[in-house]
Symmetry: C2
C-alpha cells in the first residue's frame, strides 16, 4: 500500500485524521477482493451510536463557522483536497482495484474525474454567483406603505450525510460529487463509507482530513464513518442536526432513506439517485441508415464498466423491420465477450438472479446472445446477456422496465411509431432517455421528444447514455423512481443547489449583511438588483 | 352582486366557464357571512370523484400544449386574467366582504396585490431568463473522449393542484401567487377552492376561464373544484397526473398533504406554507432607545388583519429590564381595542380555545392586556389578548412556540442576551424572525443573526414581520414546520421555481431544441454558455 498503513478505524475526521480504534469484540467487517474472493486487511470497525452522535454534534458545530466562510476559503479547501488526492493517487487506485476489481486505467480515469470535479466546484465557490443574490432596494416614499429593502441569497443547509456508491469508488464516494458540492455550498459533510471499499474510503478520507487540518477548518467539517449494515446510515439520517442526505445506489436503499428523511420530526431533503433502465428509442429511419453502427454503439454502452453504470441502456426499442445486420452485430459483439468482473459477489449474484428471473419468468422474452466464455480469473462475474421481446409483451409486463444492474439489455420490437410514442408517454421516471432519428423520421420526432423530456433528466440524441459529462448544463436526475427529487441534478455545477436554501434579509444594515448582499458589492458579483442582472454596486 | 349570478357549480373550467350542476340530492355547502352568521346563496356542490378525474385528465392533456407555449403567450394569459379580474373587481370584492368579513378597503388592496402579482409573473414569463438556460458546447476533438453538446433549462412539471387559503381570499387563492407562478411556468392549474369563500372563488375562477377561453388555451389549462371537506383535495393530490401541490393554511392540513404527496406510488413535490409564530427578538439597547415605538409597532403588527396573517408576530422576547413605558403602551393600545371580526366562526372558536388553553394550561403565563369591548356587529370575533411569561417557563413549554391564529401575542422576558441567543439556536422553523437592535447591542448581533437566519426564511431588522413584499428577493418560506420545503419561496418571482425541473438535451440538433437553447439565441436571452453569462449567440 505504498507504505501507508490502513487503520480499520470506525470513524475518521473530527480532528483525528487517523484513529486506530479496532477494539476487542467490536463488530466489524473486511473488504473482499471480488476477483479472488480473499478478505483484505484490516478489519474495519462499525461506528457505534456514540460515534454517530459525536460526528453529528461536531458537524453541527462546524456548520456555524462554515456558514460564514468565504467562497475563496471553500475553493482553497476543495483545491487542497484535490492536491492531497493526487499525492495519494497510487495508493488509492491500487487499493480501489483490490476492493472493486475495476481496472487500474478506469480507476486512474475516475481519479481524474474526481479531482476535476473538486476543482470545478472550487471555481464555482470562488466565483460565488451560484448564491443567486437578489436585491430589491427600499422605496421609503412609496404609498400607501413604504417598500423595505429586501435582499436574499442561498445559504448553506447545514450538515449533509453522503452515502458512498459501490460503482464509483472515487467520483461518487468519499470525495465525490456530493461531498464537493456540499463543501462548496458551505455544509459540513459526514460520509458513510460504502462497505465494499472501506480501504479506498479510508485513504480518500485521510486526504480530506489532511486538507481540512492543514487549512485549519473546524473538526466537524468532515467525518467518515464505517458500517457493514444499515444502522449507522439510518442513525445519521435521523439525527436532528443533520439537514440533508445525498445517496447514489439501489432503489431499495434510496427509498428507505427517503422514508426515514420524510418521517423525522423535522423532515429534511433527501437526494437519492436510484438508477433507471434508460430506454433508447431507435426510429425506423435511423435504423435503416445506421443499423450496424447503432448495434455496435449499444454493445459498447451496455457493457461499459460491466454494465454497472446507472446510465446503462437497459431497454432498447427497435422497429420490427430492423435489418438482420443489427442483430448480427449485437450477436457477434456479445458472443466474442467473456463474463465480466463485477464489483462484489453480492452484486454478481443479484445480476445473475435478475437475468435468470427475466429469462424464466416471461414466455415472451427470448435470449438471443450471451457471452460464451467465462473469465476464470474473476470470482464475482456476470455474463453479458441480450434478450428480446415484443412491445405487446413489454407493456403487459411492468417489471421489464426495471433496471438489472449489470451487462444485460432488453431489445423490444415495435410495429408502429405511434405505439412507440404511446409507450414513451407511459414511461416511469428515468435518468436518461435516448432517441436515434434521421431526416426520414422527422414527423415523429417532436411528439417523441416531448414525451421523453417529461420522463427523464437528460435526453440524448443519436448517441448513448453512458458517460455523464461534469459541466454546467448537465442534469443527472429525473422523475421518481430514477431519483427522489426531479428538481435537482447530482452531477454538474448545478448540483450545489441541493445543499442551500434562500434566506431573505429585510432592512438589515450593510454591516451585518453577508458580503454578497452588501451595497458596495465588495465581491464584484453578478446580482439581480430590482429585477436586473448587474455587477454594479448600489448607487 | 352587480348583476352576476352565482352558479353553485361543483366544478368550473375545462372549457365550461360556467356550469350549473346543482343536482338534486347532491352534497353541498353554503358560504356563511362571519359577521352575521347568515348563510349565503347559492349552495355549492361538492365535486364528485368523476369530476376530479375529469379535471385531472384535462389538465394532463393541457400540459402538453402548455409545455410548448412561449413565455410571451403565458404573459398574455396572465395579463388577460388581471384585466378580467379588474373588470369584475366590484362584484368580487363585495362577495369577498360578505364571505370573509374583511373590510372593503383591505379587499380592494388585496385585489391590487393580486393583479400586480399576475402582471409581475407575466413579466417574468415574457423575459424568460428564469429558465436558467445553460449550454456547454461540444468539443469533438477532446481526448480521450469527445465532449458532447450539453444544454439544459427548467421545464414545467405538469398539472399543479393549488389550495385556496382562508386568510387571503384573492392574493393566496384562486388567482393568487401559486396560480400565477404555475401558469407562468407553463403548468395547468387545478384549484381546490377554500370552502369559506366559494362565491369569491367562483367569480375569480370565471375571470380566469374567460381569459383562457378568449385566448384559446386548452380546456384543461385551469379548473376550479369545490368541496366542503377534505375528499376532493386528497383525491386531487393522489391523482397520478398531478405533478405538484401548493398549499397555504394550517399545520394539520399541510402535514396531511405532505404525507399524501410523499406516499403516492410516484411521490410529488408538495409546497405547504403552514405558518409560524414569527419570533421577535428585542435586544436591550433597542428597548432602551425605543420602548414605546416598539410596543406601538408590535401592537399594530399583531392585530393587523385581526392577527390572521401567517407572519403575525406571535412571540416577542424582551429584556427583564424593559421600561414600564413598553408595557403601558401595549396595555393602552390593546385596552382601547374592541374584539375583532374573524374569517369564520370556526377560526374564531379555535382562536378562543387556543387563548383559553394558554391562559389555563400554564401557571407561568399571565394575561396582561385584553380588549375590553366586544364588537356586537360581529358574530365571529376574537378579543386581542397579550400574555407574558419568563424565558425559563417558555423553554420548558414547547407549545408556547406554536402559532395561535388570531390577535394574540406572547411576550417573553429574558435575563441575559446569552440565553436569548441560546433560545434562538433552538427555535423550530419559522417564516420570519425579527431582530430589534441598536449600536449598543453590537456585540450580540452577529451571533443572534447567525442563529436566526438558520431558522427562518426571512430575517427582519428593526421592523415588523407582517407585510410580505411581492418582489424578486422575497423569501416567504423557511424550515419545517413553517413550510414543507425550505428550498423554495411561495411569494415573489422566485416562487416560479417550485413548478419546474431541469431537463438536459445532449447533442439534440437545433431544430428540435426549445428556442431558449438554440444556437442563434432567437429569444435574445441571457444564458450560461460554458460557464459564462451571455446574451450572445453561439459563434
Amino acid at each position: 500500500m505504498s507504505g501507508i498503513e490502513m487503520t480499520g478505524a470506525a470513524v475518521m475526521g473530527m480532528g483525528k485524521p487517523v484513529r486506530s480504534i479496532q477494539r476487542a469484540g467490536e463488530s466489524g467487517f473486511w473488504a473482499v477482493n471480488p476477483m479472488t474472493g480473499e478478505m483484505l486487511e484490516p478489519k474495519y470497525g462499525c461506528a457505534t451510536d456514540a460515534e454517530v452522535a459525536e460526528a453529528a454534534t461536531r458537524a453541527g458545530e462546524a456548520a456555524w463557522a462554515m456558514a460564514v466562510s468565504s467562497g475563496e476559503m471553500r475553493a482553497e479547501l476543495l483545491r487542497k483536497i484535490a492536491e492531497k488526492l493526487l499525492s495519494a493517487q497510487e495508493a488509492i487506485v491500487q487499493r480501489a482495484h483490490l476492493e472493486t476489481g475495476l481496472p487500474l486505467a478506469r480507476l486512474n480515469g475516475e481519479m481524474g474525474r474526481t479531482v476535476g470535479q473538486l476543482r470545478l466546484f472550487a471555481d464555482v465557490a470562488a466565483d460565488g454567483s451560484w448564491v443567486d443574490a437578489r436585491i430589491d432596494t427600499a422605496q421609503p416614499e412609496r404609498t400607501p406603505i413604504p417598500r423595505p429593502a429586501v435582499r436574499s441569497m442561498l445559504r448553506p443547509l447545514g450538515p449533509v450525510v453522503v452515502f458512498g456508491a459501490s460503482n464509483f469508488p472515487l467520483a461518487f464516494s468519499v470525495a465525490g460529487g456530493d461531498t464537493a458540492a456540499a463543501l462548496a455550498a458551505g455544509c459540513p459533510v459526514i460520509v458513510k463509507a460504502h462497505p465494499a471499499h472501506p480501504g479506498t474510503s479510508e485513504l480518500v478520507g485521510r486526504a480530506i482530513c489532511e486538507a481540512t487540518s492543514e487549512l485549519g477548518w473546524p473538526e466537524g467539517t468532515f467525518a467518515l464513518l464505517f458500517d457493514s449494515g444499515m444502522a449507522v446510515g439510518a442513525a445519521l439520517v435521523q439525527h436532528p442536526l443533520v439537514q440533508a442526505v445525498a445517496f447514489t445506489g439501489s432503489t431499495a436503499g434510496g427509498q428507505a432513506l427517503m422514508k426515514l428523511a420524510a418521517s423525522r420530526p423535522e423532515p429534511i431533503p433527501c437526494f437519492a439517485e436510484m438508477g433507471s433502465s434508460n430506454p433508447v428509442f431507435v426510429l425506423p429511419g435511423a435504423m435503416e441508415a445506421r443499423a450496424g453502427a447503432i448495434a455496435g454503439g449499444l454493445a459498447t454502452s451496455f457493457t461499459l464498466g460491466s454494465g454497472q453504470f446507472c446510465t446503462k441502456p437497459g431497454v432498447v426499442f427497435v422497429t420490427k423491420s430492423t435489418p438482420e445486420s443489427f442483430w448480427e452485430t449485437l450477436r457477434a459483439a456479445v458472443g466474442g465477450m467473456a463474463s465480466m468482473g463485477m464489483l462484489t459477489a453480492g452484486i454478481a449474484a443479484r445480476y445473475r438472479q435478475g437475468v435468470d428471473a427475466r429469462k424464466r419468468g416471461a414466455h415472451g422474452v427470448e435470449t438471443f446472445a450471451e457471452a460464451a466464455r467465462t473469465d476464470e480469473s474473476q470470482i464475482a462475474a456476470g455474463a453479458p446477456t441480450l434478450m428480446k421481446t415484443t412491445l405487446e409483451h413489454y407493456v403487459s409486463t411492468p417489471e421489464l422496465e426495471e433496471e438489472i444492474f449489470g451487462p444485460t439489455m432488453l431489445v423490444v420490437e415495435y410495429a408502429t411509431v405511434e405505439e412507440l410514442t404511446w409507450v414513451a408517454q407511459g414511461l416511469r421516471g428515468h435518468l436518461t432517455t435516448t432517441i436515434h432519428a434521421e431526416e426520414a423520421d422527422g414527423e415523429f420526432v417532436a411528439g417523441l421528444l416531448a414525451a421523453l423530456e417529461r420522463r427523464a433528466g437528460r435526453v440524448v440524441w443519436n448517441s448513448y447514455p453512458t458517460g455523464v459529462e461534469v459541466c454546467h448544463a448537465m442534469v443527472h436526475g429525473g422523475p421518481f423512481p430514477a431519483t427522489s427529487d426531479s428538481r435537482f441534478t447530482s452531477v454538474g455545477t448545478a448540483s450545489i443547489l441541493r445543499f442551500a436554501r434562500p434566506v431573505c434579509f429585510q432592512d438589515v444594515p450593510d454591516g451585518w449583511l453577508p458580503k454578497e448582499l452588501q451595497g458596495s458589492n465588495p465581491l464584484g458579483m453578478e446580482r439581480i438588483v430590482n429585477g436586473r442582472r448587474t455587477r454594479e454596486s448600489l448607487e
